[in-house]
Symmetry: C2
Subunit: 345 residues, 2 copies
């Protein structure tokens, strides 16, 4: 019999020790606990709103990481968005302020604005981040909700890799990891082959993909081909509700950036698609479970998610030991589902 | 004014010195000269037959390189195929017996047979390779047919890289280089990301792609999705002509190998498609001119052709300095064109 895991009760304020014991303990009482790791971020804001609006999700913690913007700014944005919908009970923990090696590049203000949310000034709430660092919070929650916690990771994987080092048993404690990142059969977006979340901390990503847990990878293959258009933004702005109206406003800058990609004002739905897939709202048409590794060399392939998709002409035969589901095609366009959810947010 | 290039007349038996001069000299008299660099090989045999059957092609030389089989065996196969159709005038030069660094791996007998041509015994001709090494022959022919010579490279690029080192001005002397190799938006076939011709000598390929000439790259994206089926093989076998009948026989083993890829007996049309595109017989639907480099690191991406296809959602905007056309889609299925040509061979 595998030893059960004892953990501090949900809501306790200290970081519990992991105690291996034969005592069977009852699981935490909150159903469907989710941990969101993010770099908020315009599309992160959509993902956060999506999760907050879902009846299937109990968001028990948020960690932030340097990526689209700084970890501190990402936390500020997350808190202000939580406050906008009266969800002050969700704790936000600041995480890694830069990648495992090298320096944080300052984010991408031309995409996400100087403040990460499209230069829109959110109403500043009195909420503050918790003192606990994001990786420690994740480890604690993984124990509290052992076997139940789902991670949705939509920024660089620095915090997740740090949590793996803090608690090597994390893969056994966590139910599932869904991440927005990588590019499988399409080009990257920060290099010819590297997608931003993976490429901005290839070392961390390499560790996360190598760990023995079930990963659902939501890559550019599907996040770039599912878009919000002007009509979607108009619907958000016309909603009369604080969250969708705010999201509509912050999307403005993002739409400008994507003119270079699509030839029109629109945007990719990177992070919210990962959130929706993590919740199980999106039927997947093609999503083979295959071996994936990250190129962590200093060569031209650095940051690439190398997925073994050589079975693509033959139904992707099973690969022993593979534990990463790579989402390559959805059953339907994601935008209507997303819009409906955000209008409820 | 750029200096003209003087060269020895076509058919001269010595290796000319390149002489830079302002004297304008008349081009060699043979129209449409082609040099084929190959590792014959089953699909190489189809490519050779394709070129021999074309009225638009004057095959002025063949070089062989270690790849599907040894360079020596590739030369033997090429000579025996030439003899089969009475084309003994085409000189065959043995080239590199292994990659620039490392050792030749012995080829792929499970794909191409122990002898490179599907274990079919070709009638052994009395033809012999020329004494000149393949790279030197290529440099000589590039001078003889300055500005006119087209290279079709369907094996590892070891000979082509060697010729570049022998004659750094080769890119200015050659009209065009068409190569079968690489994988752009699809997986590789010898690793997750590396295609065999490029991956079997990534160092050589890296030099060839970096040189300043116009390259047409015919990657797995199109060579794997264009196939010969049993009906095509039956038609070759029923032709009553030595070359197509022989090709039909050697395809037998190749069809077996591809069951793992397609779930049926069939074969990819790698090398003959590159030959047909080099001749200009195949209209291309999607073939952007983009920057391409080869991953020559020792990491997991080694041998990948890293193509900058980030403009794929927006019509591939022009990239200054790009000189590689990457064939991603054809206007029509290649098999009927190939079959008709081979039945004439």
């Amino acid at each position: 019999m595998a030893p059960a895991v004892a953990y501090a009760p949900a809501g306790s304020s200290f970081i519990p020790e992991l105690i291996l014991t034969d005592t069977t303990v009852s699981p935490a009482t909150v159903a469907n606990p989710y941990f969101l790791d993010c770099d908020t971020g315009i599309d992160d804001s959509l993902a956060l709103a999506y999760l907050l609006a879902s009846e299937k999700v109990n968001l028990v913690g948020i960690g932030t990481v340097a990526g689209n913007t700084s970890a501190e700014q990402g936390a500020r944005n997350s808190l202000d968005l939580l406050a906008l919908v009266g969800r002050s009970e969700v704790p936000v923990a600041v995480g890694a302020t830069g990648p495992q090696s090298g320096e944080f590049d300052g984010g991408v203000p031309h995409i996400h604005g100087d403040n990460g949310v499209g230069n829109v000034e959110l109403p500043v709430s009195s909420l503050r981040p918790v003192a606990e660092p994001a990786a420690e919070m994740l480890v604690r929650l993984a124990h509290e909700y052992a076997g139940e916690l789902r991670i949705v990771a939509i920024g660089p994987l620095t915090n997740i890799a740090a949590a793996l080092r803090l608690e090597p048993r994390l893969p056994r404690l966590v139910k599932e990891l869904t991440l927005m990142g990588g590019a499988a059969m399409v080009p990257g977006n920060i290099s010819e082959v590297a997608e931003a979340n993976v490429g901005n901390d290839a070392d961390a990503a390499s560790e996360v993909f190598a760990a023995d847990w079930f990963i659902t990878m939501v890559p550019l293959d599907v996040t770039l081909t599912n878009t919000f258009e002007e009509s979607d933004r108009d619907a958000l702005l016309a909603s009369g509700r604080p969250m969708p109206q705010t999201l509509g406003r912050i999307l403005d800058l993002y739409y400008d950036f994507y003119i270079a990609t699509y030839g029109r004002r629109a945007c990719a739905l990177h992070d919210p698609l990962a959130a929706a897939i993590a919740v199980g709202d999106i039927p997947l048409r093609v999503a083979p479970v295959v071996n994936v590794m990250v190129d962590a060399t200093d060569g031209p392939g650095r940051g690439q998610t190398i997925c073994d998709l050589r079975g693509y002409l033959n139904g992707y035969p099973q690969q022993p030991g593979a534990h990463c589901r790579v989402v390559l095609e959805l059953e339907e366009n994601f935008a209507p589902t997303l819009l409906a959810q955000l209008l409820r947010a």
